[in-house]
Symmetry: C2
Subunit: 296 residues, 2 copies
């Protein structure tokens, strides 16, 4: 089995989650290291050290998922606001450096998470899927007819920058009224008029705090506009909701599903179409490992 | 050539445009008859009479494009607000009745128009296309990887009901802030605070009337939000703008293209991506005839 050892890593703005093993679905090893947003070399070295501290297997395939827009031809990271020091870097080069014997696969993190959900998670058995990843920002990914849709200019899946309220709240991208400005953790905290994190706001809501409950309900209602737009545009089998913010679960999902029904054809049942992600924080690492393995 | 005679018809709320001939690209015959929105049988009979008044060729293929949502299995027209009397009718049955020897192909009108533009018009040579048809309402269609995307629940391409301004103008669908409420002719007239038709408003703008010019400029700015959302979601090669309202040309297209650049990645050139339709009023009749012929 030594020629079938795969590593999958998912680089976000704060942490790199990784898995390693012979089968991406049941990885023998996994872990998490902090990302250095301004030092790509140091981050890759830490990742290599972390994997090597657990196994000395030769890595045959290395799948690297990364936040941001990745040029599929040059593998340059062209846009990733949360990894400022990585801007313009050749991801393939760094990936090859740490695992020189591995075949390298590189892909955007939300695309990777959707592939993970498609093969092993909420999307299993379906070939038309959209995914919204609610994190600090809001990412998206799209599978149509069993194929990832990356777009003609590498910009498909930027669901967070769909405008849902002309002239609305300011988004980190500079525009106003983007879905991300309402449903990303940055936007939720801003709307809360507190200094609390989303995790803390979630704890308050769980403890019965009405203001916090209302905040997540409104988040679900804004999300419903984005989900409704996706259904009216692409009409996938499922819209999978993932990312850290989605851990608020029914606090967001229930009002979202309720409101989606207002925006779409009566024949569509939002409670069947809009579903939570299943794989949790390792979805992207698993997904990109599957792609690296050539199973996807 | 008698076994290669094809008729393409495009049923809208006010008129049926039709073409007939051996080659859909250069039809020998074409015409237009009024639609009876409450009498499907009378409309089909008029269509048959109109075609028969010009040719007595046996019709081998009959392509029927129709406004509204058509169930692909039963060919029932399930949703078409501008054809109230056609609701729930089996389009295939009526199509077979008037041309009994023809193989029948039935498809939504905007899908048909996009196929027309794809094969013979603005979309030639591209395999990832979105189309917005600005008429009384606003329809849409999508080709990804050379395939029409009709959606899992037959609802893809409902671009007009994408919400661009939460709590905005009322739409005919009952929701608020739909793209259609701003960029369909009904919405444009409403925003003009006049009793004039879009055609009259267009004449005023062409004659230099500043209020009318501003009205179309704003229409272009609203359209840009919808186009920007489409690019951020699907990122097609081209977004083709057609339909009667699009005849306002640069009055709408210029401000639209200018604003799209605010909403999409800097690497995307809106002046190359956002293009006017080329085939004019017969796009859908030509497109569905091509599909009927099996060329698409």
């Amino acid at each position: 089995m030594s020629n079938k050892f795969v590593v999958g890593a998912d680089v976000g703005g704060t942490a790199v989650k990784w898995i390693a093993g012979t089968d991406p679905a049941t990885p023998e090893f996994s872990g998490e290291i902090p990302t250095c947003p301004n030092d790509i070399e140091a981050t890759f070295q830490s990742l290599a050290d972390a994997v090597r501290s657990k196994t000395d297997c030769t890595v045959n395939q290395f799948g690297l998922a990364c936040a941001g827009v990745i040029d599929p031809v040059t593998s340059l990271l062209c846009g990733s606001p949360n990894l400022p020091g990585w801007q313009g870097k050749d991801l393939h080069l760094f990936a090859e450096t740490i695992f020189p014997e591995a075949a390298v696969t590189i892909i955007n993190d939300v695309n990777a998470a959707l592939v993970g959900e498609w093969i092993f998670g909420a999307g299993r058995g379906h070939n038309n899927l959209a995914m919204l990843a609610l994190g600090t920002g809001v990412g998206g990914a799209l599978i149509i007819d069993g194929q990832l849709v990356t777009g003609s200019y590498n910009s498909a899946g930027e669901f967070g920058h769909m405008i849902i309220e002309r002239g609305g709240l300011e988004c980190a991208c500079g525009n106003k009224g983007c879905l991300e400005a309402y449903t990303g953790s940055r936007g939720i905290v801003q709307r809360s008029n507190t200094e609390l994190s989303v995790a803390d706001l979630f704890k308050k809501a769980e403890a019965g705090d009405q203001e916090a409950i209302d905040l997540f309900r409104e988040t679900g209602e804004y999300l419903a506009i984005g989900v409704g737009n996706l259904i009216n545009i692409i009409d996938p089998d499922l819209v999978i909701i993932g990312g850290g913010v989605a851990r608020a679960g029914d606090l967001i999902m229930k009002p979202c599903i309720q409101d989606v029904s207002k925006y779409v054809l009566a024949s569509i049942k939002p409670e069947e179409v809009v579903v939570p992600a299943k794989l949790g924080i390792n979805a992207a690492a698993i997904g990109v490992a599957v792609m690296a393995r050539g199973n996807a």
